[in-house]
C-alpha cells in the first residue's frame, strides 16, 4: 500500500517531481563530475605539475663536495664524479617506471664563443631511448615545456640553442654560425634557436649531449639527471617514512611494502637510488611539496563547490516538497483522521524523496559524466576517466540531499491537524 501511495503520488505530481529531480540533477551532476575528476585528478594534475619542472635529481655519488652556482656545478672540492649516459635507461626499469614521464641528463663545461666565455651544457633535447616496453622519447623538451625557443629546437648534429641574454650580448640570432672552443678543441655550430626561460639558462649554450661530451673530452659522462615523475601527495605513511633514514629498516614490513608500492616521491626516489647504487637520488622537495599543497587546496575547493551544490539542490527539494505538502494537506489530514501516525506520513514523504533522490542521482551521474569530460577537456586537455564507483556514491549522495531537503516539509506535514485539514 505504501509503495502504491508513493508511486501514485509521484506519477500524479509529475511536474513537481520533475522540478525536484531537476534540482537534484544539477547538484549531483556537479558533485558526480567533481568526484570523477577528483578521483582522476592526482594523475591529471600530476601530469600538469610535471610541466613546472623535474621533481627528482639524480647525481653521482661522490666523495667530493659539489659546488653549484645558479643550478650549474662550477667545481668540486675533491675528485669530480660522473654517471654514465648508457645507464640512464635503468630509470625505466624501476617499480614505478610508468610514472617516470621524462628525464634529461646534463653535462657542464665552459666554452668560448666570439671571445666570451660561457657555460656549455650538453643535454638531450629530444632523445629516443630503447626500453623493455619500446621506444621512450625523453629530454629537455619533455621535462621543461616552459622553455621558449625562438627559431627551432636543434634536431641534428652541429646545432645549438643559445640563451636569450647571451645571444643579445653577442648579437647572435637564429640561423647564425658560431665556433665553440673548449679545452683546446673547437667546433662549428649553427644557432638553431634562442632559448628564454627567465633563469640562468638565458646565459648558457645548449648542445646535444654527445657533442658536449666530445668537446669536453668526457665521452659517455653526465653530471646530473633531472627526473620528472608522477607522484602521490604525501599522507601519514609517507610523512612517517620521510623521517627515517631507511624506511626499509624503520617501517614494519607491511607498511614498507605499502609505502614502496605507492607512488610517493620518496618511494620513487628510493627505487631510483636502488637502480643507481653509484648515484644519489634526491627529491626536489619544494616542487613535490608545492604539488601536494596545490592538490590539497584543489580538492578542498572541489569539496566546497560540491557542498554548495548539495545545499542548493537540497533547497530546491525543500521548496518542491513544501509545495507538495501544502497541496496534499487534505489527504494528510484524512490519513491522520483514519489513524495514521506521523511515522506513516513521514515514511511516505521520505520514501518519495528517496525515489526522487535515486532518479535525480542516476540522471545526475549521467550528466556528470558529460560535465567531467568537459572539465577534463577544458582544464586538462584530456577526458576524465569514467569511474563506475561514482554511480552508487552519486545516488547515495542524491538520496541524502533529497532526504535532508525533505526534513522541513515532513516536519510541517507532521504538524498538520486532521480536523483543520479536513475542514479545508
Amino acid at each position: 500500500m505504501l509503495l502504491h501511495l508513493v508511486k501514485d503520488s509521484l506519477i500524479r505530481r509529475r511536474r513537481r517531481v520533475a522540478l525536484a529531480v531537476l534540482s537534484l540533477l544539477v547538484g549531483t551532476a556537479l558533485i558526480s563530475a567533481l568526484l570523477t575528476v577528483s578521483l582522476d585528478i592526482e594523475d591529471k594534475m600530476g601530469k600538469e605539475m610535471r610541466s613546472f619542472g623535474a621533481n627528482i635529481l639524480l647525481s653521482p655519488r661522490s666523495e667530493s663536495v659539489p659546488v653549484e652556482i645558479a643550478g650549474m656545478p662550477v667545481g668540486e672540492i675533491g675528485e669530480k664524479s660522473f654517471l654514465s649516459d648508457a645507464e640512464l635507461a635503468r630509470l625505466k626499469t624501476i617499480f614505478w617506471k610508468n610514472n617516470i614521464t621524462g628525464f634529461a641528463p646534463y653535462l657542464y663545461g665552459s666554452a668560448t664563443l666570439k671571445g666570451e666565455r660561457a657555460v656549455l651544457v650538453g643535454t638531450w633535447f629530444e632523445h629516443e631511448l630503447a626500453t623493455e616496453k619500446g621506444p621512450f622519447i625523453t629530454g629537455v623538451r619533455k621535462i621543461a615545456p616552459w622553455w621558449q625557443v625562438e627559431g627551432e629546437w636543434p634536431d641534428g648534429k652541429g646545432q645549438l640553442l643559445i640563451g636569450r641574454e647571451l645571444a643579445s650580448r653577442l648579437e647572435v640570432s637564429a640561423g647564425a654560425a658560431l665556433k665553440l672552443e673548449s679545452g683546446g678543441s673547437s667546433r662549428d655550430f649553427r644557432v638553431a634557436g634562442i632559448v628564454s626561460t627567465g633563469s640562468f639558462e638565458d646565459n648558457q649554450i645548449f648542445v646535444d649531449l654527445p657533442e658536449a661530451q666530445e668537446l669536453l673530452g668526457l665521452p659517455g659522462k653526465v653530471e646530473k639527471v633531472q627526473v620528472s615523475a608522477l607522484t602521490k601527495p604525501p599522507d601519514e605513511l609517507a610523512r612517517r617514512a620521510r623521517l627515517m633514514e631507511d624506511p626499509k629498516e624503520g617501517l614494519s614490513p607491511a607498511d614498507y611494502e605499502k609505502w614502496y608500492c605507492s607512488p610517493y616521491i620518496e618511494a620513487i626516489t628510493y627505487q631510483i637510488q636502488e637502480a643507481f647504487p653509484d648515484g644519489q637520488a634526491k627529491p626536489v622537495r619544494q616542487v613535490a611539496e608545492a604539488e601536494g599543497a596545490f592538490l590539497g587546496k584543489l580538492k578542498l575547493l572541489f569539496a566546497l563547490i560540491a557542498g554548495m551544490a548539495a545545499v542548493t539542490s537540497a533547497m530546491g527539494v525543500t521548496a518542491t516538497m513544501s509545495a507538495t505538502v501544502m497541496e496534499r494537506r487534505g489527504e494528510i489530514g484524512l490519513m491522520k483522521a483514519l489513524g495514521a501516525e506521523n511515522i506513516h506520513i513521514a515514511g511516505q514523504f521520505l520514501l518519495e524523496a528517496a525515489a526522487i533522490g535515486i532518479i535525480g542521482g542516476a540522471a545526475g551521474y549521467g550528466a556528470g559524466i558529460g560535465l567531467a569530460a568537459l572539465i577534463g577537456r577544458l582544464v586538462f586537455d584530456s577526458s576524465a576517466a569514467f569511474s563506475l564507483p561514482v554511480l552508487p556514491l552519486t545516488i547515495v549522495i542524491s538520496m541524502a540531499i533529497a532526504l535532508l531537503g525533505s526534513a522541513l516539509p515532513v516536519r510541517r506535514a507532521s504538524r498538520i491537524q486532521p480536523i483543520q485539514a479536513l475542514k479545508g
Partner: protein, 225 residues
C-alpha cells in the same frame, strides 16, 4: 446494556467562545443516537471530540473505558484506527485510489492491507461491482458507501457519522439509511450528527444541542428516557 460512551462535564472553548457547556451524556452499546441541533449548536464539536480529532477544554470522555482527555497525538491516532469508524459528509476519499484501495488505506494504518477483506466490506455496502472505480467515477451515494465500508473495515466499536446524508439525494439517502439500519440491526453502535429530522428520527434516541448545551429528546421508536 453497557455504556460504551460516557461524557461528563464536557466543555470546549475556542478563545472566548464556548462551543460546549458541561455536556453530560452516555450511549449504550448497540444504541443508535442522533445528535441534532441548529448550526453552531456544538454538535460537530461534540462529534470531533468523540472522534479524537479535537480535545476538550474540560470534562471527561470515556469510550469503552478509555479516557480520551489527556491522550497524546499518537494515542489518539491509535484510538481512531482501532476503536471508531468515521463517516464524513464530504466523504473524504483519496481521489487517486480506487474504491478498494480507499478501503485498504484504513487497513494499512491499522494493521495490514488485505484485498479480500476490503472486497467483502465493499460487497457488504453493495459496491461489489465498483471495486476498481475511482471516486470521481462513483455517484455521491456510492462514494458515501465506500466511506462506510472504510469506516467498517477495522471492525470499530462505534460508528461516528457527521451529516452522512448531507450531500446525497433522496434515493442515495435512503440507501445509506438502509445500510445504517442493517448495521444497527447487527448490533453496531452509531452516533450520527444530522440536521435532517428524518435521519435523526431513524435513531433510537435524539440528543438535541443548543448553544452547546444538551436537551434530551426521546425518540419515537424507544419511548424511553
Amino acid at each position: 446494556m453497557k455504556e460504551i460512551i460516557k461524557i461528563s462535564g464536557l466543555s470546549k472553548a475556542y478563545g472566548q467562545v464556548n462551543a460546549l457547556h458541561h455536556v453530560d451524556l452516555s450511549v449504550r452499546e448497540g444504541e443508535w443516537v442522533s445528535i441534532m441541533g441548529p448550526s453552531g449548536s456544538g454538535k460537530s464539536t461534540l462529534l470531533n471530540i468523540v472522534c479524537g480529532l479535537d480535545s476538550p477544554t474540560d470534562g471527561s470522555v470515556l469510550i469503552d473505558g478509555l479516557e480520551l482527555a489527556g491522550l497524546s497525538a499518537s494515542e489518539l491516532a491509535r484510538y481512531r484506527r482501532e476503536m471508531v469508524g468515521l463517516i464524513f459528509q464530504q466523504f473524504h476519499l483519496v481521489p487517486y485510489l480506487n474504491a478498494m484501495e480507499n478501503v485498504m488505506l484504513a487497513q494499512y494504518f491499522h494493521s495490514m492491507a488485505d484485498e479480500e477483506s476490503a472486497r467483502i466490506a465493499l460487497e457488504r455496502v453493495g459496491l461489489g461491482h465498483r471495486l476498481d472505480h475511482l471516486p470521481a467515477h462513483l455517484s455521491g451515494g456510492e462514494q458515501q458507501r465506500v466511506c462506510i465500508a472504510r469506516a467498517l473495515i477495522n471492525e470499530p466499536r462505534v460508528l461516528l457519522a457527521d451529516e452522512p446524508t448531507g450531500n446525497l439525494d433522496e434515493k442515495n439517502e435512503e440507501a445509506v439509511m438502509e445500510l445504517f439500519q442493517e448495521l444497527h440491526g447487527q448490533g453496531m453502535t452509531l452516533v450520527v450528527v444530522t440536521h435532517d429530522v428524518s435521519v435523526g428520527e431513524a435513531g433510537d434516541r435524539i440528543i438535541n444541542l443548543e448553544h452547546g448545551r444538551v436537551l434530551v429528546k426521546t425518540a419515537p421508536k424507544l419511548q424511553t428516557a
